[in-house]
């Protein structure tokens, strides 16, 4: 099995077979990222294609200061945020329910009882502004300062959106469980 270093070196030389190996190795992981940032599978697929195209055409700029998948994930996230800014996803439909923003009196959802796909499904139902911050903070490990900078909002807004996003996600998971 070819190691990442060799794979990257060959990709930097535009070796098509190496590029395909890189795709096969990281496509699932990147698709998971795409799915978190997009509302539907079609958008996620588009993002996956654009993201890998960008990764493969910019890979000569990868200096090896981080893991390749970390670098790739950043590219995918930046692309997703760019698309959001361009308005490609800004009219994604969601059923707005004010009740979701009310703090729940019940106990928090037990993480051990929730399936991953349910969490992701619930995540997609969140309004985009909350979903983005939740993704960036909770999953991708960005700081509020970084999130604020990337989304063009204040640090306070980032914190507030994170908090509301958590409340809404928790409420959604409980609702689904009851159903």
């Amino acid at each position: 099995m070819i190691n990442d270093e060799e794979l990257i070196r060959r990709c930097q030389q535009n070796d098509r077979s190496a590029q395909k190996v890189l795709f096969e190795k990281y496509a699932n992981k990147m698709m998971a990222t795409c799915m978190r940032y997009c509302k539907n599978q079609e958008d996620a697929k588009d993002l996956l294609h654009e993201g890998f195209y960008k990764v493969l055409t910019k890979i000569d700029k990868f200096k090896g200061n981080s893991k390749i998948d970390t670098w790739m994930t950043r590219i995918f996230i930046n692309l997703a945020l760019n698309k959001t800014r361009e308005g490609r996803y800004k009219y994604n439909h969601y059923e707005y329910d004010p009740k979701l923003e009310q703090p729940s009196e019940d106990e928090p959802e037990d993480s051990r009882q929730v399936e991953a796909h349910e969490v992701l499904k619930a995540l997609k139902e969140l309004p985009e502004k909350y979903r983005l911050v939740l993704n960036m903070y909770a999953v991708d490990g960005m700081s509020h300062k970084e999130i604020a900078s990337k989304l063009g909002i204040s640090v306070g807004s980032s914190k507030s959106r994170l908090s509301r996003g958590r409340v809404m996600l928790n409420a959604l998971l409980k609702t689904k469980k009851r159903l």
């Binding site: 599978q41 697929k45 294609h49 996803y89 928090p108 995540l123 939740l134 909770a138 958590r166």
Partner: protein, 449 residues
């Protein structure tokens, strides 16, 4: 909300689940196609850059050559006088029975003497004339010579190793040169070519003249999409994916009468009257399953979407837009050989939209409409640039020029009536077409004496 920190853990765990079901080989095929297209684009850019560099080099080389040639003529005129005076002595002439080959005798141009004298010091015999007379009577020799040894290829220089005495004479003096006949023949040809170019340049700059002719430009028509910032809220969430992504470039053309006015300088003015066609291919195949809920106060923003009975839009065709085009360009020309010159033009065009045919989906509701309903702008301004090679004769000029033009304004009109509210005008999408193609012109020269 600290008790909800576990949500973060839930998300992290969920995000680590693989997404196997969603990725397959067709995804790689799509990416590979994109990479291949990029590769072709890069090749095309390199070829284009190579052409630009080659053309520019020719242009610069020729400019410096022309100026050096002019300088050479001046230098030769002055140095000839000095030379005659300082070499005012009798040398043994080459034998009278020396004969040049037929090719060599073509070098009748007395200017050869001056040019050759720069390669090898000639010897001069005075034929019972004073040197002053010689200078006076040899003045006619200064008409053509303008080739210098710095333009001579190294392969020619090697030929100088063999020495052949060549006698050149006028009624008043003779010059003996030790060169091979082959060198002289080749130098003579270079000389004639250079002088022909200079004559061509001098001739063209000697008087103003018109060129009129037929011009045809096959091209590829495409467009740049933008958003009207005040109405971008009216762009449907699916517009880019379902509509814009399925509108593509198509073949276009422009044909008409081309008029150029050439001045005494290298600059000229170009205009004409053209029928220009721009096109776009559309290949829609999508479902409208939701309708936008428009903000009832501003009518300029979509608040959300509500589901509707799905409506299918399937249409494949080519939309065409016909214009009358009147360009006004400033051009610059530079001779690069006896018959070829490089011309570069840039300027603006006025395009009046005459008619249009086809169908196109709107940006808000994604419904298919006749393009006449889109209320496109009928008066347009475009900028264009072209640069290419012309083959010139005394009466005709035949040119081939890569050309690029782009609309300076959006084709979509600010007068477009929003069907939601009569008080809201303008199209949320801005469209600026552009063309790149190859202009082929055949011009007839008038007043070119």
């Amino acid at each position: 909300m600290d008790n909800l920190q576990h949500i973060d853990d839930l998300l992290k765990r969920a995000s680590q689940e693989p997404a196997n079901a969603f990725v397959n080989d067709s995804d790689w095929d799509i990416i590979e196609k994109k990479l291949e297209r990029r590769k072709i684009r890069i090749y095309a850019i390199w070829v284009f850059l190579a052409l630009v560099v080659a053309s520019t080099s020719l242009f610069i080389l020729n400019s410096s050559r022309t100026s050096q040639n002019k300088q050479r003529v001046v230098n030769t005129e002055s140095s000839q006088t000095d030379y005659i005076h300082t070499n005012n002595k009798t040398e043994i002439l080459a034998s009278d029975d020396y004969t040049l080959s037929e090719e060599v005798t073509e070098t009748e141009n007395a200017g050869d003497i001056k040019r050759s004298s720069e390669y090898k010091q000639p010897t001069v015999e005075m034929n019972n004339q004073s040197s002053e007379n010689i200078v006076d009577q040899s003045s006619h020799q200064q008409e053509v010579s303008n080739t210098s040894n710095q333009f001579m290829p190294s392969s020619f220089k090697e030929l100088f190793s063999s020495k052949t005495l060549v006698q050149r004479s006028t009624p008043n003096f003779s010059v003996n040169l030790e060169y091979t006949p082959t060198v002289l023949v080749k130098l003579s040809r270079l000389d004639r070519t250079a002088s022909a170019i200079e004559q061509a340049i001098n001739k063209k700059t000697a008087s103003n003249y018109f060129e009129i002719g037929y011009s045809f430009t096959p091209s590829i028509s495409s467009k740049m999409l933008g958003e009207n910032s005040s109405l971008s809220g009216l762009i449907n969430k699916d517009y880019y994916d379902k509509v814009a992504a399925n509108e593509s470039s198509a073949f276009a053309s422009s044909t008409g009468i081309n008029i150029q006015y050439h001045t005494k300088t290298p600059f000229y003015v170009s205009s004409g009257l053209y029928m220009t066609q721009r096109t776009e291919s559309v290949d829609y195949n999508y479902l409208i399953d939701s309708a936008p809920a428009i903000n009832a106060t501003t009518f300029a923003e979509i608040d959300g979407y509500f589901p509707i009975v799905p409506e299918s839009v399937v249409y494949t065709g080519s939309n065409s837009y016909h214009f009358v085009e009147i360009p006004l360009n400033i051009g610059y020309k530079q001779a690069i050989s006896r018959n070829f010159e490089m011309r570069t033009e840039m300027g603006v065009s006025y395009l009046a939209l005459l008619n249009m045919q086809g169908k196109k989906s709107d940006a808000t509701f994604l419904r298919l409409r006749d393009i006449t309903e889109l209320n496109l702008r009928t008066r347009n301004i475009a900028a264009s640039i072209s640069s290419g090679i012309y083959y010139n004769t005394s009466r005709f000029a035949l040119g081939v020029e890569p050309t690029f033009s782009v609309n300076l304004n959006s084709m979509t009109s600010s007068a477009y009536q929003n069907e939601l509210d009569q008080n809201v005008t303008g199209n949320p999408i801005q469209v600026r077409p552009y063309n790149y193609g190859l202009n082929i012109s055949t011009n007839f020269k008038l007043n070119n004496k």
